[in-house]
Symmetry: C2
Subunit: 176 residues, 2 copies
DNA sequence: AGGCGCATGTAATTAGTTACATGATTCA
DNA sequence: TGAATCATGTAACTAATTACATGCGCCT
């Protein structure tokens, strides 16, 4: 249900198309939420039915038409109500790698190190991309405090993960 | 689908009842996965159908009977195959608070601080509980490397979160 | 000629949550 | 006597994923 408020949050900044919502979501929210275009389009339809958003159809002659969504008064009210009144649900993480970590005792040291190296590489590349995005937003003059805070979260999360991996490698070596 | 391997991982350590699986899951895997007893019992049934686990019924006279599950050879093989062969899926986080963070610009400073304080308190209590568990496992002589690594992950995650919150508060104050 | 970006959707399936349902034992 | 722990399940619903489906314009 929270996906709805993520989308409402995006549209609240400025009117955008469904396609834009998907793009912005993947740029800015990938650090703390996940979704697909398929779910997003469906949720946009539901929100429109419930009068939280409306759209204006923009006919673009040659290129495909697009729907530009914006918040209704009710949508904005509901977004703020949710933010300040709705009790916070605990964060949910689904991290496959840490499941694999729990069974390290039945894997060989070589296999463990291979897995750890893989995840280190992945996290390095995520971190690099996040830092790139941070620079990008910065250079675009995007000083939205929400963006600043959540991008910083993404960077800190990846850094923590990498440090933990380094520590884990040491632990494995010491135990062997 | 990964929930299956989380459960297989638990049962691989020693034969346990469904109830035990639920309990262990909530103690040890809460930092990186989430599920409910309802989903777990269903998955156990499916895994038994597919010959990855079997159970022995233990009749306990007065208290309710229980099913003690253990891995079949096929189950163990599949668990290891998954761990070393199956390509790693990226971690998925669903953190409501960070959605709320994205709309800080339309909230008052007071509302923002209230939200941040709430989340700081929550994270403090999670961290305290995690540290408690770490001591508990330690004192029980549980030196399973999987447990050591994942509990440490939980601690580092909470600490990162708290430091980020502190930094966020400072940012908000500076901006105001 | 092929791939990427823009642009929007539906269908089928699987995963996950919440509520319903029961019942004994143990401890305060 | 009421709450917590042990113990197991099903039903109804919602959320989410993957695959299917289309098509133009632009760049190389």
């Amino acid at each position: 249900m929270s996906i709805r408020y993520a989308l409402l949050g995006i549209i609240s900044k400025k009117p955008v198309t469904g396609y834009d919502v998907v793009t912005i979501f993947k740029q800015k929210m990938i650090y703390f939420w996940s979704s697909t275009h398929s779910q997003i389009y469906k949720e946009l339809h539901k929100m429109e039915e419930e009068d939280l958003i409306t759209h204006q159809l923009v006919i673009q002659g040659t290129s495909p038409n697009k729907k530009v969504y914006s918040l209704t008064d009710q949508g904005k009210k509901d977004l703020i109500r949710w933010a300040i009144e709705e009790p916070l649900k605990p964060a949910k993480i689904k991290d496959e790698f840490l499941i694999k970590t729990t069974i390290f005792p039945i894997l060989s040291e070589e296999e463990i190190n291979q897995l750890l190296d893989e995840v280190i590489e992945r996290e390095h590349s995520i971190l690099a991309k996040t830092k790139e995005w941070k620079e990008h937003f910065h250079s675009q003059g995007d000083s939205d405090i929400g963006t600043i805070l959540t991008v910083e979260y993404g960077i800190r999360y990846s850094e923590m993960y990498l440090e933990w991996c380094k520590w884990a490698k040491q632990m494995i070596q010491d135990k062997a």
